[in-house]
Symmetry: C2
């Protein structure tokens, strides 16, 4: 047994990092693809900027509020499931004790070892219910401030991500040049984003970078082709 303290080095993405990843990966991809798609169909950067900014507003509000509601739903879902577990430990305690026993049985423990464990856990109702929530249902108590923070992080990172592919159309008036600059800038940004995300989530950063470039590129190519098929350039 080592004498130095042992620190677990498992990676668990903080919830905020996850929200930023969610917002930014869509923010970098969808406005980029939309702008590229429109460049294949319209002649004016003004329309691309208008559509792009409308998409940015729509996307960040929709994703941000969606994140907020998902957070609220988690909180309410946890509370209602907890209430139900409390009722079950009151009404059908033997059944609930058997469920605790079943969980340990699945890990190869025999009856005589399980009995004291079940007795200890079920001796305190709060503790018992917490155990059922976590180990039977796999639910962790959500933080109450999560929903608002989550909404803000998702919306802001979507907007920041989306401004990168749109900025060339704002500053460059020739639509073809703007498209090329936007493609170059965004592919670099997608690569950096995927690289950083990869090193956070423990997958190979280089592969992470290439994956996000591939997604953004495919989405943009599809949008470009569809827009060009629908509308011939005026």
């Amino acid at each position: 047994m080592p004498t130095t303290p042992h620190i677990e080095q498992h990676f668990t993405a903080s919830a905020t990092v996850r929200d930023i990843v969610i917002g930014m990966s869509d923010g970098l991809t969808v406005p980029f693809a939309l702008a590229a798609g429109l460049s294949g169909a319209v002649a004016s950067t003004a329309i691309v900027v208008t559509a792009g900014m409308a998409e940015l507003a729509a996307g960040s509000i929709s994703m941000g509020l969606g994140g907020y509601l998902a957070g609220r739903t988690d909180i309410e879902h946890y509370a209602s499931e907890r209430q139900r577990e409390i009722q079950e430990t009151e009404k059908i305690p033997e059944m609930e004790k058997k469920e605790v026993a079943d969980i340990f049985q699945a890990y190869g423990m025999n009856e005589e070892n399980i009995a004291p464990v079940v007795a200890a856990i079920s001796s305190d109702r709060d503790q018992w219910v917490d155990f059922m929530m976590r180990f039977e249902l796999g639910l962790e108590a959500p933080e109450s401030s999560r929903a608002r923070q989550s909404a803000f992080a998702i919306a802001a990172s979507y907007a920041v991500g989306g401004l990168i592919p749109l900025s060339p159309y704002i500053f460059i008036h020739d639509i073809t040049t703007a498209l090329y600059v936007s493609v170059a800038v965004t592919l670099v940004a997608l690569f950096i984003f995927g690289f950083v995300k990869g090193s956070f989530t423990g997958i190979n950063p280089l592969r992470g970078g290439l994956q996000t470039v591939l997604i953004g590129g495919l989405a943009a190519a599809a949008a470009f082709i569809i827009a060009r098929l629908i509308a011939a350039k005026p």
Copy 2:
């Protein structure tokens, strides 16, 4: 103790239902808001349809592939964490046994009850590692086919959701009429979607319906205002 079989009635959304909800809620909202926003800035439904379809392609590919990669990352993350736990049970078994003991201690069990439990769990390495994965790290083994199914469900429901707000612009050539029809049709669709989603996730369906209408409405209003501010109607 009741003699009738006890069936737990907790709601756990199937992964596919969750994917459909993710895809459709964005699909109904973002193309709707983009189309409404552009209606405030351009004179032709053709541009709205072009931008809308480009967005639909971009959004469903981006979200679908994003879902695919998230599924793949879950699988790889689980595998790499499991590998690490296996190594830890080999290299520092006493530390890992103490971690098992700590989990039970948190539920108020005393030392003498914990010892046989820890011995039973750690008697089989596979079982021990499975226990650590679930109870220490809170990770469940992901299904290997999830990633592809998830990608398809998200992309398809995004596309289906997005066609609802766009169809009026395809069939009606007067942009103001198309906008009104799109707003009416989409708010109804958002309400139905939120209502059904609410009854699935256990929140009040009426409130669920009103929430999705509110998100879609706010996103569309913001997109409309921003688009109008950027470009005056030609």
